[in-house]
C-alpha cells in the first residue's frame, strides 16, 4: 500500500489543516516512513479476533432524565473569539472552495 502526496493532501483537507508545500512534503516523507513501520501489524493473523474499541466491562451507563444547571450565558461566551447579542459569531459560511 503506497500513499501518495495526493492522498496526504486529501487527508490534510479532511482534517482541515493548512500546510505550506514544503511542510506537506516533509509530512509526506514522515508519514510514508511511519506507515511503513506501522504496516508491521498486517503480518499478524487477526482472522477471528474481535476488535477492541473500549477495554471496560461496562454496558448501559446512563443518567436519569433530570434537567440540571446550565452555564450562565456570559460564561458560555467568555472564550468566544467573536460574539453578538448572545450568539457566537463567525464569518460568512459561503463555501467557495468546496
Amino acid at each position: 500500500m503506497k500513499i501518495t502526496l495526493e492522498i496526504v493532501k486529501h487527508i490534510a483537507h479532511l482534517a482541515r489543516l493548512e500546510f505550506s508545500e514544503e511542510e506537506l512534503k516533509q509530512f509526506y516523507q514522515q508519514m510514508v516512513e511511519l506507515l511503513d513501520h506501522f504496516a508491521r501489524i498486517s503480518e499478524l493473523d487477526t482472522e477471528n479476533v474481535p476488535p477492541t474499541s473500549g477495554i471496560l466491562p461496562l454496558y448501559n451507563v446512563m443518567r436519569e432524565d433530570n434537567p440540571g444547571p446550565t452555564l450562565p450565558r456570559e460564561e458560555a461566551l467568555k472564550n468566544a473569539p467573536e460574539e453578538e447579542s448572545g450568539f457566537f459569531k463567525i464569518p460568512t459560511i459561503l463555501e467557495a472552495e468546496d
Binding site: 479532511l14 454496558y59 446512563m62 443518567r63 433530570n66 452555564l71 453578538e84 450568539f87
Partner: protein, 473 residues
C-alpha cells in the same frame, strides 16, 4: 407514466426533559445560548452521559415500528466540520444501530399498505445557525445558538416502498401519529421537531435526494415537482444525475445543490467516551408494558365496531380524538354513532376554529348524554346539531341546553293531532289531491305541522297521526 420509488429519511426530536448527553433542559423558545453547558458546547474535557429516557423512547418507537431491537448497539463518531457541530463530530450510530427491519402500515384508498423501515437509530441534534435570509449574505457573518445542540434525535429510514407523493404524506402522517400516541415527540414539522429528507427515482432511473423538507405540504409538492422533472429529463436527455437537491418553497421547484467533487468520508469509529448498550428482553418488555395502544391497533378495533376504514383512520391517527372516542366507548356508547357525530358536527366545528378536541369544553360524558337524549327522542337530529354546537361552545349538558332553550320534542299525540287537524282544515285542496293518490304531498303536510310546532314535534308520532287523519275520509 413511470412508477416513482420513494424513500424517506426522517429526523425526530425526542421530547425528553434534558438533552441526550448532558442535563441541559430541552426547550424551544429560550434566549440563545442559555441552555448550554461544557458538554453541548463541546468544550475541551467534557464528556457525554446517555439519557435513559431517550433510550426508552427509542425502544418504544422501534417496537411501534415492528423493528428488531439489536441486543448490542454502539454509538459512533461521525466526523465532519461545520459550525453547528461543536465537537467536530456528531455522536450517531453506524454499523451497530439501535434497531432494524420494521414497517408501518398506511391506509391508502386501495387498502392497507406496508412501508418497510430500514433502521431506527439515535443521534444528537446540531446547533441552530442564523444566516441567509435574516442576515444578508454579503454582510459576511452568521450567528450560532447552541440551545438545540445535543437534543436527542431519532433517525428513521424507510425502505423505498413508497410509490406516490400521497403515500409519502400518509407515511408521515402515520409516523407522526405513532410518535404522538407514544408521547415521545411533538412531531411538529413546522417547529422542526420532525424533519424529512426524501429519495426519489423513477423506474430504472437514478435517484436524487431532496433535503430538509419542513412541512407536509413541502414534501408533497417537492415530490410532485421532482417526479415531473425527472420524467422530462428522461424524455429529453435520458439520464437523471445522482445529486442532492434543495426544495425552494416559494418557487415550488427543486434546485440542484452544488455537487460535491469528493465522496463524503465521515471516518466513523466507535465513540470511546460511551460504553455499548445491551438491551435485553426484560427491558424491552418493561417498555412495551408501558406503551399505549398504537394507531394501527386502534384502527383495527374501530373497524370491528363498524366504522369505515377512513373513519377509523381519522380517529386513530389523532391521539386526542382517539382518547375522546375511547372514553365514550367505555361509557357504553355505540361506536358508530359516536363516530358519526365526532366526524361530522364536532370535526366541522373544530376545523373551522382550528381547535383540538381537548381545547373545547365538550366532555365524553357530555357527548354520551347527548346521544342518550337523542335516542330517547327528546330532540330530533336536526335540533341535535344545534345542541351539540352549543355544547362545544359552553360545555353545558344536552338536557340543560334543551330545557333552557325549550328544544324538547313534543310527543303529546293530543297536541300533535290538534295541529294536524288544523293543517288539514286549512288546506282542503291539497287534502283532496292527496286522497286522490298524489302521495308526494305528504311531506307538505309534515312541514306545515312542524312549522306550527316550532320544529319540535316528534316526527314519528307526527307521521303516524297525520297518516291516520289523511286516510280518514
Amino acid at each position: 407514466m413511470l412508477k416513482p420509488t420513494i424513500g424517506l429519511e426522517v429526523h425526530v426530536q425526542l421530547k425528553t426533559r434534558s438533552k441526550m448527553f448532558c442535563s441541559c433542559p430541552v426547550e424551544f423558545k429560550a434566549e440563545p445560548n442559555t441552555l448550554v453547558c461544557p458538554v453541548c458546547l463541546g468544550l475541551p474535557g467534557s464528556l457525554p452521559v446517555l439519557n435513559r429516557q431517550a433510550v426508552e423512547y427509542t425502544i418504544a418507537v422501534a417496537l411501534a415500528l415492528h423493528c428488531e431491537i439489536q441486543p448490542f448497539s454502539q454509538f459512533h463518531r461521525k466526523n465532519y466540520f461545520y459550525p453547528d457541530l461543536p465537537k467536530g463530530y456528531q455522536i450517531s450510530q453506524y454499523d451497530l444501530p439501535f434497531s432494524r427491519n420494521g414497517y408501518l402500515i398506511i391506509e391508502t384508498e386501495e387498502g392497507e399498505k406496508r412501508i418497510g423501515i430500514q433502521r431506527v437509530h439515535m443521534e444528537e441534534d446540531t446547533a441552530k445557525m442564523i444566516h441567509g435570509e435574516s442576515i444578508s449574505r454579503t454582510s459576511g457573518y452568521s450567528l450560532i445558538d447552541f440551545n438545540r445542540s445535543g437534543v436527542p434525535l431519532l433517525e428513521i429510514v424507510s425502505r423505498p416502498d413508497i410509490s406516490s407523493p400521497q403515500e409519502a404524506t400518509l407515511y408521515l402522517m402515520e409516523l407522526r401519529s405513532i410518535l404522538r400516541t407514544l408521547g415521545v415527540s411533538t412531531a411538529n414539522m413546522e417547529e422542526g421537531a420532525l424533519r424529512c429528507d426524501v429519495n426519489i427515482s423513477l423506474e430504472r432511473g437514478t435517484r436524487t435526494e431532496i433535503k430538509n423538507l419542513n412541512s407536509f405540504h413541502s414534501v408533497r409538492k417537492a415530490l410532485e415537482y421532482e417526479i415531473k422533472r425527472q420524467e422530462e429529463v428522461l424524455k429529453e436527455k435520458g439520464q437523471v444525475i445522482q445529486e442532492t437537491r434543495h426544495y425552494d418553497e416559494r418557487a415550488g421547484v427543486t434546485l440542484s445543490m452544488r455537487t460535491k467533487e469528493e465522496a463524503e468520508d465521515y471516518r466513523y469509529f466507535p465513540e470511546p467516551d460511551l460504553v455499548p448498550l445491551k438491551i435485553d428482553p426484560p427491558w424491552i418488555e418493561e417498555v412495551r408494558s408501558r406503551m399505549p395502544e398504537l394507531p394501527e391497533d386502534k384502527r383495527k378495533r374501530y373497524k370491528e365496531l363498524g366504522l369505515f376504514p377512513q373513519e377509523a383512520a381519522t380517529i386513530a391517527n389523532n391521539p386526542e380524538l382517539a382518547n375522546f372516542f375511547d372514553s365514550c366507548l367505555s361509557l357504553g356508547a355505540p361506536g358508530k354513532e359516536v363516530a358519526n357525530w365526532l366526524l361530522s358536527e364536532v370535526m366541522k366545528y373544530l376545523n373551522a376554529r382550528n381547535l383540538s378536541i381537548i381545547e373545547v369544553p365538550l366532555s365524553p360524558e357530555g357527548l354520551v348524554e347527548f346521544l342518550t337524549v337523542l335516542k330517547e327522542g327528546t330532540i330530533s337530529s336536526k335540533i341535535g346539531k344545534m345542541v351539540i354546537e352549543e355544547m362545544l361552545q359552553t360545555g353545558d349538558g344536552a338536557r340543560e341546553i334543551i330545557e333552557r332553550r325549550g328544544l324538547a320534542q313534543i310527543s303529546d299525540p293530543v297536541l300533535i293531532k290538534k295541529w294536524a287537524e288544523e293543517v288539514i282544515k286549512e288546506n282542503p285542496d291539497q287534502v283532496s289531491q292527496y286522497r286522490q293518490g298524489k302521495e308526494q304531498l305528504f311531506g307538505f303536510f309534515v312541514g306545515k305541522v312542524m312549522k306550527l310546532s316550532g320544529g319540535k314535534a316528534n316526527p314519528e308520532i307526527l307521521n303516524r297521526i297525520l297518516k291516520e287523519l289523511l286516510l280518514r275520509e
